[in-house]
């Protein structure tokens, strides 16, 4: 899937590049089509619907964050409006006997997101940077407050629900069985991802990158950065709306929290952790996020805390996210220093895991004392049992953290040295890092 790396320019008129492009997307299509034969259970298909929706949402967010350099705190507004319009459409179609089948409903959601973005975007994108972020948050707060007032449309705290099987059948499909919903979602994921990928390779997509890098200079090659940001904003709204509509189809309902700040936060987390500088980054991030939020909650009651800390650590130590960090290793791979770097990782992993383990032990113990104080002190977190009331637990946690920290510092120095050496070799040979 290296073809999905948007930063690497596809060379002009190289036939191989075009072939690789079709091969990669063809493979994605085949995988999507084959998925239900491999994972047959309804629950894994439901999970996929969640993941697919999250992928479109994160990719749409990355049009703003990664491609255009706009950090929005209110992207869920366009997702939510897509969801609500989808639900209303799904209710109106059977009521008026309209000949619109379910697979077209995401389009309605997309148009709703687009129209709202057209409306709010002009002022929001007048400025980039921090001011844009502040305005996006203001618009989001406004939207949530309005949603709670306009109960006829948004259904108040309860939201509104629908029944997707009431729509006219589509070649005999009523979208009752999960596998039919799966194919609907998979189709839209494929089309949306392909469209958003194509967007990065158009003149507008390129100029978005230029606006991200240097909005000032863009003006001196003839472009108005405000219009560029505005168009990017509208596209982001369109695809967020499609994602929202797909969610509404999966859940057969929409709720004001779909517009809200938890949803906006989730898309920021997953996009950034996945990596904003690579097209596939947000896809990885969305899968990672949905997976963690479904699975971590089985292991610990405070998974949100760990997730927030993970996010902070990524911003602090791996600003490229998962995707960017992986891609960073192309350079040592080319100069032949990758083996050594991986070895230093393996060494550093031991004390780092001790540090993390000690920290988690301490947190879980504190959680036991503050949240579940009256329960049995012999608790279990991440499959490990321990006695939260015993002083031994504290000693172990403290020791793990201390040793992990001080030994970890030494071993990470080894990592830094290995990287420095690789960089030196690379610059001697003129290989870009």
């Amino acid at each position: 899937m290296t073809e999905l790396v948007s930063s690497a320019p596809m060379s002009r008129a190289v036939p191989g590049a075009r072939l690789r492009f079709y091969a990669a997307w063809g493979m994605v299509a085949v995988l999507l089509a084959a998925f239900p034969s491999i994972f047959t259970s309804a629950s894994s298909l439901t999970t996929f619907s969640l993941v697919g929706t999250a992928i479109i949402f994160a990719l749409s967010y990355n049009i703003l964050l990664g491609q255009t350099g706009l950090l929005s705190f209110g992207h869920a507004v366009y997702y939510g409006i897509g969801a609500f319009f989808a639900v209303h459409t799904m209710n109106l179609i059977p009521q008026y006997g309209l000949p619109v089948p379910l697979p077209l409903v995401p389009l309605i959601g997309g148009v709703a997101g687009l129209l709202l973005a057209i409306l709010t975007g002009w002022i929001s994108t007048r400025r980039a940077g921090t001011v844009f972020s502040m305005i996006s948050l203001g618009v989001a707060e406004l939207a949530v407050a309005l949603a709670l007032i306009l109960t006829d449309f948004f259904g108040g705290e309860d939201g509104i629900s629908t029944n997707r099987t009431k729509l006219p059948a589509w070649f005999g499909w009523h979208f009752g069985p999960q596998v039919q919903v799966y194919y609907l979602v998979a189709f839209w994921v494929f089309v949306s991802a392909l469209a958003m990928y194509a967007l990065t390779r158009t003149p507008l997509g390129k100029i978005c990158n230029a606006v991200r890098d240097n909005p000032e200079r863009v003006q001196f090659v003839g472009y108005d950065p405000h219009i560029v940001r505005y168009l990017a904003f509208c596209f982001a709204g369109l695809f967020a709306g499609i994602a929202g509509a797909l969610a509404a189809i999966s859940f057969e309902s929409a709720n004001f929290t779909d517009l809200g700040w938890v949803k906006s936060g989730a898309v920021i987390f997953s996009t950034y952790i996945g990596g904003t500088s690579i097209f596939a980054g947000p896809i990885v991030g969305a899968i990672f996020f949905v997976y963690l939020s479904l699975s971590l909650s089985d292991y610990t009651s405070v998974w949100q805390l760990y997730f927030g800390l993970l996010f902070i650590l990524v911003v602090r130590y791996a600003p490229g996210g998962i995707g960017g960090t992986l891609l960073m290793h192309r350079m040592p791979f080319r100069v032949g220093g990758l083996g050594r770097i991986l070895r230093t990782y393996a060494i550093a992993a031991v004390p780092t895991l001790m540090l993390v383990g000690g920290f988690v032990l301490a947190v879980e113990t504190i959680v036991h004392h503050t949240v579940n104080a009256n329960e049995d002190p012999r608790i279990k977190a991440f499959g490990v049992s321990f006695d939260a009331s015993s002083p031994m637990t504290w000693i172990v946690a403290g020791l793990l953290m201390l040793i992990g920290y001080f030994v970890g510092r030494l071993t990470w120095r080894g990592v830094t040295r290995a990287w420095d050496d690789a960089r030196t070799i690379a610059s001697e040979r003129g290989i870009p890092s």
Binding site: I123, L137, D152, Q304
Partner: protein, 315 residues
Amino acid sequence: MLELVIISALNGVLYGLLLFLMASGLTVVFSMLGVLNFAHAGFYMLGAFFGFQISKWFGFWWALLLAPIIVGLIGAAVERFALRDIHRSGHVAELLFTFGLAYVIEEVVQIVWGKDPVDYRGPPSLDFPAFSIFSTNYPSYKVFMFAISVAIFVALLIVIKRSRIGLVVQASLTHPQMVAHLGHNVGLVFTLVFGVGIGLAALAGVIAGPILQTQSNMAASLIALLFVIIVVGGLGSLAGAFVASLLIGLIQTFAVSLDGSLASLFGPLSPDAPQFLIRNIWTVTIAQVAPIIPYALLILVLILRPMGLFGTRET
């Protein structure tokens, strides 16, 4: 009616002063360091909870002294050990970091103190009515809040107008790009300013906690309000932040105490009129609209006066 107006005005000004305690730190840090601290309201919340905890152990007056200092030190540490390094990755990374921090603070507060409001009370020595207006007793704790806010406000003014650091802060407000040329100890100044800004937010938390609810969700809605204040006031303008704080404080307080609606003005909606959505708009009370007003104001200001009420730089 007059009674309501006077009480609401007092409460509105008080709320405005509290907002200014937070907005002032936020806007100074933004101008000097270029960091928009998303976690600013989170530190306000930490102030309230630390205040609650310390006053439970040692009494309110110790809380008033210690909580802002402790939280301020935490803030200074965040600047020194995290933000300074992230600065190299640009403003988006800084903003994302503080966003994550706000999230983590909320989670930590939830873990330690739970999701329900805690029983945080002011000192018993201030538990008497200061004066009464018509039939309403005005609590002396609120008078005390007034005194603290005004005292801090005056102290800030003196520091900014008279001290060397104050001059640096002033210069940075109008010419943010100049701050880089201030000399070798500029890092220390940054840490100090960041810590003090956070400390002020925490102080607001300590004194507001007993009156407003001390609860783990108190930060989330506040930060957006603070952003509105610094944009509406004009980025880099302390005077603007002050006026906008009072404005928002008054609007919010008055709006909440009014329950007029279109229906109460013009009578109930005729059944022949279109109902969908119109019905919602017709019957919504001003009190219910209150949360929207600041954001509507934000958008209005951005359209009509993009540099904010007192701003010199275009936002």
